[in-house]
Amino acid sequence: MTMPLVEMKDVTVRFHGARTVHAVNGVNLALMPGETLSILGESGSGKSVTLKTLLRLLPENRTEIGGEVRVAGTDVLSLDGRALANHRGGVVSMIFQDPMLALDPVYTIGDQIAEAVMRHEGISRQAGLARALDMLTRVRIPSPERRMKAYPHEMSGGMRQRAMIALALACRPKLLLADEPTTALDATVQIQILLLLRELQREFGMAMIFVTHDIGVAVEVSDRIAVMYAGEFVETGTVQQIIREPRHPYTKGLLAANLHGAVKGERLDAIPGAPPALETRPVACSFAPRCPVRAESCETGRPPVATFDPGRMVRCIHAVEPAMAAG
């Protein structure tokens, strides 16, 4: 049996400052090599923070990380200095929503990619530039030779996104983290980027964790989905399980709010209220105040975690009841 590439055990992230925020509250995750997981959630649910923990990109002095994070056998939380620098971009790489912030505006695309490869693999500048050209070709940038010498501002939005993907994958990472990489793109460009990521993932055999608030995007790219709410995974399962038999009331609400198949003129089954502020660690079910099927016990204690097959988990009192499970 192969080892998971990524293992997160009871990971907590707390931000200190003017006020304390309990951003991530006990995340458990195992991701196999080559697998794609989407973390689905709304703003403030902790999905981006979970991603950044894997790269240790959170501000050191204000962040308290608990639990265990292992990627390819390495204890990520104990990494330091040179080892951490090798981890970032070498083993694990990340792409973002805004490529303008991820790319350096004063270097050409070719130079940026070449520099990253030279730093990580210790190869010559010439070999680095050759890799850069190869990467630009693989991400299907038209006339890549010419684009090697282009600055980020000279490219269109979709092309910049492709250039950022080329940069992120240039050192052949085992894991790609994607933080809403298509949210700012137009619809016809978004689907191109999603298909490209799927194809490159197959080609390079890398695992991917994809953060999104859009269920449709998650369906297009992932094998599994983890639904996140108030810093916790409330439901995990294969894409089919999440889409066809959602068990957590929040997952059901999110699916309804996607409006796919909503009937015109009919009232939407909207989830009332807003997510909690997370100034304290949740002591009851975080979703209870908004839940249409809450019971008294939901507001007094932590909900039980129901696990079915490996990878299928629901954090809800109703999930363990056979009647609900059948429905």
Binding site: D186, Q192, V219, E220, N258, L259, H260, K264, A270, P272
Partner: protein, 350 residues
């Protein structure tokens, strides 16, 4: 600008409707000059909106969709004269803006809600002041305006006792957008333009606001112009949908017709680009390659022709103009859909 892109009088007629449309837009055009060079000379023009015509009937919701740079937001701003058009007519209940209708009156009847709920509100005004401001400067006594603000706050689901005295930064995005909607309603407008008004909200909050918009429409008999890039939301809320591409109308028609039977290749591509919701039938091929081109130097002829699979030499030559299809109120600007156009896919007319 070829005259073909402007609706022919026959096509502009609102079908079998007996009453004149509530809002009628004819040949609307706005080009923005690009300044540059040594003395700030004009180096080019952005053809943001280029000959757009449409009608909005009382009580309906018209959805406007398209990608960035297609001119949907510029169209919205032109409708309330936040930008002055270079050319074209705007008629509200058959009264023409600038002739027998002034801007002040137009804006009383046509109000707007923007995407950025925070930037839309003055950070130094409490919610009740923000809503009462408009009526007050239009001559309503202060006490009455405040009472109206409280009434509107409860109408949009915000308890006045809790929210009237709050400032914008003390509210969540969804709550702020409710305030913006309340403010738009302060003049009892006939039409509310919602320019990506729910796009920045989280999905669960978006659904709440969509329910609110439906309730308000029914209660107050409103007409909406709903601009969005989210085709699921547009399908849910709209009666008719207008698809824009590079400053022009590509297709316009009843929502069911347009989604079930898209005729313009661009509409088909937009619909095909929607992520699949079926994990066993994921999208295998992108319907279009490349980014939407820049409206600074739009392609000749049909502006979609460089990205179109059905493009023929005819398409780069002349603009197709909007053609009325046999089905009710469905118009499309595509040579392949116009009988006798000479396109190989078009019907041949005798």
């Amino acid at each position: 600008m070829s005259p073909a892109t402007v609706l022919s009088p026959e096509a502009a007629a609102p079908g079998p409707a007996h009453r004149p449309p509530l809002l009628s837009v004819n040949g609307l055009r706005k080009h923005f000059p690009l300044k540059g060079g040594l003395f700030g000379r004009t180096t080019g023009v952005v053809r943001a909106v280029d000959g757009v015509s449409f009608d909005v009937a009382e009580g309906e919701t018209l959805g406007i969709v398209g990608e960035s740079g297609c001119g949907k937001s510029t169209t919205a701003r032109l409708l309330v004269d936040l930008i002055t058009p270079d050319d074209g007519q705007i008629l509200l209940e058959s009264r023409r803006l600038g002739v027998d209708l002034d801007v002040r009156e137009l804006r009383r009847h046509v109000q707007m809600v923007f995407q950025d709920s925070y930037a839309s509100l003055n950070p130094r005004l409490t919610m009740e002041d923000a809503i009462a401001f408009g009526p007050r400067v239009n001559g309503m006594p202060a006490a009455q305006a405040t009472a109206l603000a409280h009434e509107l706050l409860s109408k949009v689901g915000l308890e006045p006792r809790r929210f009237a005295g709050r400032y914008p930064h003390e509210l969540s995005g969804g709550q702020r957008q409710r305030v913006n909607i309340a403010r738009a309603l302060a003049f009892s407008p006939k039409i509310v333009i919602l320019d990506e008004a729910v796009s920045a909200l989280d999905k669960s909050v978006e659904a709440q606001v969509l329910n609110l918009l439906a309730d308000l429409k029914k209660e107050l008999g409103l007409t909406y112009i709903f601009i969005s890039h989210d085709l699921n939301v547009v399908r849910y809320i709209s009666d008719r949908v207008m698809v824009m591409y590079l400053g022009e109308v590509a297709e316009i028609g009843p929502v069911e017709t347009l989604y079930a039977n898209p005729t313009h290749p661009y509409t088909r591509a937009l619909l095909a680009a929607m992520p699949s919701m079926d994990p066993d039938r994921r999208t295998e091929e992108a319907p279009l390659s490349g980014d939407p081109p820049n409206p600074i130097n739009p392609p000749s002829g049909c502006r979609f022709h460089p990205r179109c699979r059905n493009a023929e030499s005819l398409c780069s030559g002349g603009s197709p103009g909007l053609f009325k299809l046999p089905s009710d109120r469905h118009l499309v600007a595509c040579h392949a859909a116009i009988p006798g156009s000479g396109h190989s896919l078009a019907e041949v007319t005798a």
